[in-house]
Symmetry: C2
Subunit: 352 residues, 2 copies
DNA sequence: ATCCTTGCCGAAACCGGTTTCGGAGCCCAG
DNA sequence: CTGGGCTCCGAAACCGGTTTCGGCAAGGAT
């Protein structure tokens, strides 16, 4: 099909053959020296390393891949479908992964898909074309087709988020449940007794966890659970506003609301404003994520922030271990979110 | 150094040899048939194509790369340094590029850097390791070290944004100047006579262009240019608020403000609020970008939106042409931003 | 019938690495 | 002095493709 054949640039790369010639050694020897094989004399090894460095030798990743079977590349498939547009810390996430990858001279190849089926197809393609040695899976779902695929294909992967059926799964996650529990206790400490909860999207694994954390917080504080105070499915400002308005319209409205997502909290701000309630005084709000808008909101939002950059880096490193054969059982970690106390929560208003 | 050698998965790939054996042809013949060489009989070509398809053959990208010199991968280096965190349409941008790349069975590899020097170093590394055949350069600067590097290395690239010294440069850009000019004329049509302008960061190429557009709009409307009404360097809400406050504190404040960035406009909202001015009535605001927050702001922001997804796709396609040898002179395009009229602008208030 | 094209394909070299295999030296014990 | 083991490196096969080169067979011209 391709009528116009692409023209390779004739840039002079220094290859392993150049090195071999320069040093008067066989190229196989060079390769083994550079890759730390034990059957190379230490003096030879340093000599090779030094001139390789001097001549600016960089092994061509593809040539290595063909024999070793390793593309030296991490895969990341992003859902770019409707409703997934807003990813405030995507840059940080990519940065974390990319930096960790660079440390090992690996690279990151990203692709996009518009729904779950497309995600699976895209991942399969990347594997078929051998572009990628493993995947980082953002936003673990409760039922996740991506996991099924990769388990099936026997391709290494690491989840950002835990999962119910851990068979063959490695993961890194932020313990949102601890944060939610903490949030409830914090508010209880401020005198709040009716504390609402607005959860995120139910398809994701984090949702039940965070709700469980909220419930655990209630229990730890000795507060009763009231189903009327619990809403779910709010991932946008608009949805947060709707659920916030619903909660505030209750006969006995909450004096504080815990949100599983900052975005929802920003919606609650609007619902409160519509009722003439001042956030931080008449209504306390505590959320989770640490999006940049939370800092510039009025008042600034108290939230449990996650270090997305660190998460990306950690995921990449776990994936390296996974690719190198470590049992996924030993590659499961959770880390806490960190409270950023700002102005959106305060003492409970004196009860009338 | 690597003590634990990575273990390649023993998945059974179907190679070109399998195809050759199955068809009783030489593997060179298979390769030529698949790549559209003219010395293959049409019947043979279809026979090969059919069984290749049936057996699910996917050429291993790396093996092709080693001989052809093409990695079949587009490079994108993102600046993840401080102040660059907020990239609301990064996902769309990636989506556009990734989709266009997939169409040709290419992939996208992204890396991050924290400043310009790091960007250049990262790009050089990607080229040395032969991971990438060309780059898409987001956010063209007036003086751009990335351009110097790639020109020097003779590596194909495409700019998102124009540049002063076009030597060897291909680009795609949105004509922000037309949008700014339009914005001024629109406001003039609404009766505004004192129209302020808040520009973005001066290091980027778009800044002088948009300011020129603002000036052109003034001229076309027959309005005088007043340097007091022009501010620059506002890329965040906070900076927009500051400059907005300055403008509103003028002896004769503007009745309308054009912002080069939506973010700055959101800051102007706050400055107006602080003075008790109602956006859309007492003060009109028109901006540029089309970030999602603009739609949910109160009132919703009138803005010139850019289709970032389409831009990414177009850039990728231009880069393909560039890699295949098209003269960059023929690879320069601009497209208009599209007005999204919402509630932040209205008739000028009756003058006192 | 012979020669010359032309169409079509096989064989082999090649790309830049990795890995296997074997053998040349050296040291030391018998 | 000989045999065995160990250290270290060269040679060559190999990975999965691409590209060059040459030759066979069919067809047309002479």
């Amino acid at each position: 099909m391709p009528v116009s054949r692409p023209q390779p640039r004739p840039r002079a790369r220094v290859t392993i053959n150049d090195l071999a010639q320069e040093l008067g050694l066989a190229k196989g020897t060079i390769s083994r020296a550079l890759n730390g094989y034990p059957d190379i004399a230490e003096t030879t090894r340093t000599r090779v390393a030094r001139t390789a460095d001097r001549m600016g030798y960089r092994p061509m990743a593809q040539a290595q891949a063909i024999r070793t079977g390793l593309a030296r590349s991490l895969g990341l498939v992003l859902n770019a479908g409707p409703g997934n547009a807003h990813k405030p810390f995507l840059t940080d996430f990519l940065d974390g992964i990319s930096r960790a990858a660079s440390e090992e001279s690996w690279s990151l190849s990203v692709a996009t898909a518009f729904d779950e089926a497309d995600e699976v197809a895209t991942m399969a393609r990347l594997v078929e074309e051998h572009k990628v040695d493993g995947f980082i899976l953002p936003r673990t779902k409760i039922r996740d087709a991506r996991i099924d695929l990769l388990r099936d294909l026997n391709v290494p992967f690491v989840l950002y988020g835990r999962t119910g059926d851990p068979e063959g799964c490695a993961w890194f996650d932020i313990s949102g449940e601890d944060a939610m529990r903490d949030a409830v206790l914090r508010l209880n400490g401020l005198g709040h007794r009716r504390i609402g909860f607005i959860n995120g999207a139910g398809v994701y694994n984090y949702a039940p966890l965070r709700q469980a954390g909220y419930v655990a917080g209630l229990a730890a504080a000795g507060l009763p659970y009231d189903a009327d105070l619990v809403r779910g499915g709010a991932t946008t400002i608009a949805q947060g506003e709707k659920h916030g308005a619903d909660l505030l319209a209750l006969a006995v409205p909450p004096t504080a609301i815990v949100c599983a997502l900052d975005m929802a909290a920003l919606g609650v701000y609007r619902a409160a404003e519509a009722r003439g309630l001042r956030i931080g005084h008449d209504l306390s709000v505590v959320a989770y994520d640490g999006i940049p808008e939370a800092a510039t909101a009025l008042p600034p939002l108290t939230t449990y922030a996650v270090d997305t950059r660190a998460a990306g880096a950690r995921l990449a490193r776990l994936l390296f271990h996974r690719i190198r054969g470590t049992d996924p059982i030993h590659l499961r970690e959770t880390a806490p979110a960190h409270l950023v106390a700002r102005g959106s929560d305060g003492p409970a208003p004196a009860s009338t």
